[in-house]
Amino acid sequence: MLSKIVRTISDQLILFILVFGFYIITHGHLTPGGGFQGGAVIASGVVMMIVAFGSNQIKKSLRERHLAVVESSGALIFIGMAFAGLGTTFFYNFLVGTPVFGIIPPTGPNPGNLWTGGVIPLMNLGVGLKVIAGLSAVVLAMALFSSGEEVEE
């Protein structure tokens, strides 16, 4: 656990990091970014909280079984979107043309529209959840092993 100035500033800074990470995940089909990049940004914010507050205090809020549920649901969303287009082939983009996510943009440079992209924004969400839970669980396990010698349930 570090000094009081570091703890106060990291309390204020975690909100901006979360908003920035979710912006990169959500706009993955308009600007450079996507699922993997946004997940790495949010996982680095969690690592900053572990360094500032000590791993024994973060362990009370982030239990391991909750992180396992989040990671498994992210993988199930990714596989479900792949199986849902099985009428034609395995990874078919079945939402192009429908008004849910499938407006076709005009060719050439244009200001982007959020409701384009087909099945890709939902796949970005699934991969982002999986990367957040996976990297946070790995860093938390390593910090608990090397500092406290406590049991990890």
């Binding site: 600007t31 200001p111 982007g112 390593m142």
Partner: protein, 118 residues
């Protein structure tokens, strides 16, 4: 804008980085330094993949408010994303094995961990 680079300098830089990583893997005995050598090898392969698909005077391959000009090839950039994630997984597993070995033998030398019992 860079129009002509003589003698393929980025590919020679990739060959030198692979040479440095192989020197670390052959001659060093500290376990943490061996993990650093594997990380440098992964980074050299990523640089080679990105440098393969560059077009002279090109812009990013995204159609949202893009400037004029020919676009850079998009397929090597997609392969590089996959390679970065796999390199992170390899380094995480190697560091776990290093931590367990240090806890048993209290030494980071790679030759003394060959006679572990039990």
């Amino acid at each position: 804008m860079i129009q002509y680079i003589p003698y393929n300098i980025p590919f020679i830089a990739v060959a030198l980085l692979v040479g440095i990583a192989l020197y670390i893997l052959i001659f060093k005995r500290n376990m943490v330094k061996i993990v650093m050598g594997v990380a440098i090898l992964g980074a050299a392969v990523n640089l080679f993949l990105v440098a393969l698909g560059y077009r002279a005077g090109g812009v990013a391959p995204i159609y949202t408010v893009s400037p004029q000009g020919p676009m850079v090839l998009p397929v090597p950039q997609a392969l590089t994303l996959t390679s970065i994630v796999i390199a992170v997984s390899i380094i995480a597993l190697m560091l776990t094995m290093v931590m367990h070995t240090y806890r048993h033998t209290k030494d980071v030398d790679a030759k003394k961990s060959r006679t572990m019992k039990g």
